[in-house]
């Protein structure tokens, strides 16, 4: 049973009008976001308007889709089966709503729900990002996580499970106080056609280390549009790895500001696509303090008529001397109809910096394939080995064995889908 079918920009605005009195948090921020969303619309959905940040990705299919609020609850055991079988604390959301029954809260992390306090952070920019405006307008729930100073909170799973036709806009806040540590495995899965539009605000205080591994394994009919803002203080590390496997259209946008000296940001990732999938990884790294380093290695494996996008912007402010910025994107095309669009942008105002970027595109190497087959390894297995080998360099960045095993299984599943 479903109610309130909505579609397009008008549908989202109508939904806001219908529920605005019941939404948590500052109503003025909501209505300002609604105004911004009304003005901006969904990128690519309004003909004639082309924004540079959305040059390669159009959200017209999102505007054309219709969503509904599902009132049918899936069985807990069915939902649980969607989660990886690793024994770690977990915070589980179903269609964007916190689900206490499926969760096993971490002891070392302070957790509260966005639904309770409606606490918007200070980093998100609804005025310049249409999807953030949409999220700010309609956000109902999300995880607010804080790790106290000096605490090592270990590994925590943050999972989103979605059901058919849902549209949800989670608002997550992650804060690490001085010297804290957290390893967060973020998982997005679901069934059917739905919209998952989360916004993350991440704040990492002096000397803290956040490892953020994100596995986007959504339904192949779903839309996954995620925006993350991170503020990295002195001598902090934000170590993130995104693996995009699922969704019909995915956009992972990451804004990182290195605001204190000697900070480190790793924005690594892999995108494995097939069929007519489209995935867009867009990053903006602002070096606003001296002696920081940012590193990005992004590997794309593209089959069918899929399309991958990587846009990487590095901004180095005048004050950010001794910046070390590195960006590399590589694509392996498994089909002649697959496509990668890569756009590096370096904007450097300091004079003593080391910044480099590179991009490669290629096919599976015929000699390597022949070498493996000449040793008795069947063609399909040989191809799989070479694809994994291509990904290995990027995956090596994930050092936690439990997390790595979850990613390896996801890659395995992706490969089996190709072979089928």
């Amino acid at each position: 049973m479903t109610v309130a079918v909505q579609s397009g920009v008008a549908g989202f605005l109508a939904r806001y009008d219908a529920m605005r009195d019941r939404l948590p948090g500052d109503p003025r921020r909501r209505s300002a976001a609604a105004d911004a969303f009304r003005r901006a619309g969904l990128p690519g959905a309004t003909s004639g308007r082309r924004e540079e940040a959305w040059k390669y990705t159009s959200l017209r299919p999102v505007a054309d889709a219709s969503f509904a609020q599902s009132l049918t609850l899936a069985d807990d055991s069915v939902l649980l089966a969607r989660l990886p079988s690793i024994d770690v604390p977990r915070i589980v959301f179903v269609d964007g709503e916190f689900c206490a029954d499926l969760s096993a809260l971490p002891a070392a992390v302070e957790f509260s729900r966005f639904a309770e306090h409606g606490e918007f952070g200070t980093l998100a920019r609804p005025d310049s990002e249409p999807l953030v405006a949409l999220n700010t307008m309609l956000a109902q729930d999300g995880a607010v996580l804080s790790v106290p100073a000096g605490v090592d909170a270990g590994l925590v799973l943050l999972a989103s499970i979605a059901t058919d036709r849902a549209a949800f806009h989670p608002r997550h806040v992650i804060r690490l106080a001085r010297g804290a540590r957290l390893s967060l495995l973020e998982l997005s899965v679901g069934d059917g056609s739905y919209l998952h539009n989360p916004v993350f605000e991440v704040q990492v205080d002096e000397g803290a280390i956040l490892t953020h591994v994100r596995l986007q394994d959504e339904s192949l009919a779903a839309f996954h549009l995620s925006t993350l803002y991170a503020e990295i203080a002195e001598r902090c590390t934000y170590d993130s790895f995104v693996l995009n496997l699922g969704a019909r259209i995915a956009r992972t946008e990451i804004h990182v500001r290195l605001g204190g000296a000697k900070g480190t940001a790793h924005l690594n990732g892999g995108q494995l696509l097939s069929g007519t999938q489209h995935a867009d990884l867009t990053t903006v790294v602002k070096h606003d303090a001296p002696s920081c380093s940012s590193r990005q290695t992004v590997k794309n494996v593209l089959g069918g008529r899929s399309q991958a996008v990587f846009q990487g912007r590095i901004e180095v402010a005048r004050i950010a001397q001794k910046t070390d910025g590195y960006q590399m994107t590589q694509a392996l095309l498994l089909s002649p109809d697959a496509e990668i669009d890569t756009k590096p942008e370096l904007e450097i105002f300091a004079d003593d910096v080391k910044c480099s970027h590179g991009a490669t595109v290629g096919e599976l190497d015929a000699e390597q394939l022949f070498y493996l087959r000449s040793r008795g390894i069947p063609d399909a297995a040989a191809r799989s080995m070479l694809v994994r080998a291509f990904l290995a360099e990027a995956l090596e960045a994930v050092t936690d064995e439990r997390v790595r095993s979850v990613l390896d299984r996801a890659v395995e599943g992706w490969w089996e889908r190709q072979a089928a």
Partner: protein, 249 residues
């Protein structure tokens, strides 16, 4: 074991092999010698099933089966092994994982049980030791950062582990110092049995001091121009290819 009849092959319409006849019976080691550009490596690649060579004429039977109709992996499963002249680097693929995947693929086709990681490592370590190779070679990525000699030894290690019925060694001796050459030769000699044969392709007679062949064939212009016993290698060394080829013509 191996019967090559009137084999001709071309790459990009350029004929390289022009009617090769060669029979390697069970248990024998045959050497194929010849100058650069005579078609030695092409012969090796065609036998292993590399797709960029077009077979234009002739037949190859391997244990009575039509070798040319088989995929490269089927040839390997049937017991054929090519030691590459230029072993291929596989960044991101661990040597142990590569070898175990290959061995288990072969064992599956033979109806044998697969080896688990522990069983495999025991076998691989023993072979590594026998070939005087550093054990960390198993942990490294396949041929990545290997010296020329290490790459060749890695080919011999693969051969020792996969235990083929027919080994084709394509200039495995090139770029090896005398110690490495002996190790490679011992690796081949250790496999010599009545049901094992080898085709040793080489430019120089040197390797044949250590792997003594039953027959020697001289390849020139895509044809076998002379065949004889091991003494033929010494004659070649004395006369040079030019003299030998002129004589044959």
């Amino acid at each position: 074991m191996l019967e090559i009849r009137g084999l001709s092959a071309a790459i990009e319409d350029k004929p390289i092999l022009q009617g090769i006849d060669l029979v390697v019976p069970d248990g024998e080691v045959h050497a194929v010698m010849g100058p650069n550009g005579s078609g030695k490596s092409t012969l090796a690649y065609v036998l292993a099933g590399r797709e960029d060579y077009a077979v234009t004429d002739g037949s190859v039977s391997f244990d009575g089966r039509d070798l040319l109709a088989m995929d490269p992996e089927e040839r390997a499963a049937a017991g054929l092994f090519l030691a590459f002249q230029y072993p291929v680097e596989l960044p991101g693929v661990g040597n142990a994982n590569f070898l175990r995947t290959a061995l288990n693929a072969l064992r599956r086709t033979r109806g044998e049980s697969e080896l688990d990681a522990v069983q495999f490592l025991r076998l691989a370590r023993a072979e590594t030791k026998r070939l005087a190779m550093p054990e960390d070679m198993l942990r490294r990525n396949v041929n990545v950062g290997f010296s020329g000699g290490e790459k060749k030894r890695n080919e011999v290690l693969q051969m020792a582990i996969l235990r083929p019925r027919l080994a084709i060694l394509d200039e495995t001796d090139s770029g090896l110092d005398i110690d490495a050459l002996k190790i490679v030769a011992e690796g081949v000699n250790a496999l010599r049995r009545p049901d094992f044969s080898a085709l040793v392709i080489t430019h120089y007679q040197r390797l044949l001091d250590y792997i003594v062949p039953d027959r020697v064939h001289v390849l020139a212009g895509g044809r076998i121009v002379r065949s004889g016993g091991p003494e033929l290698a010494h004659e070649l060394e004395a006369k040079g290819y030019a003299g030998m080829v002129a004589e044959a013509a």
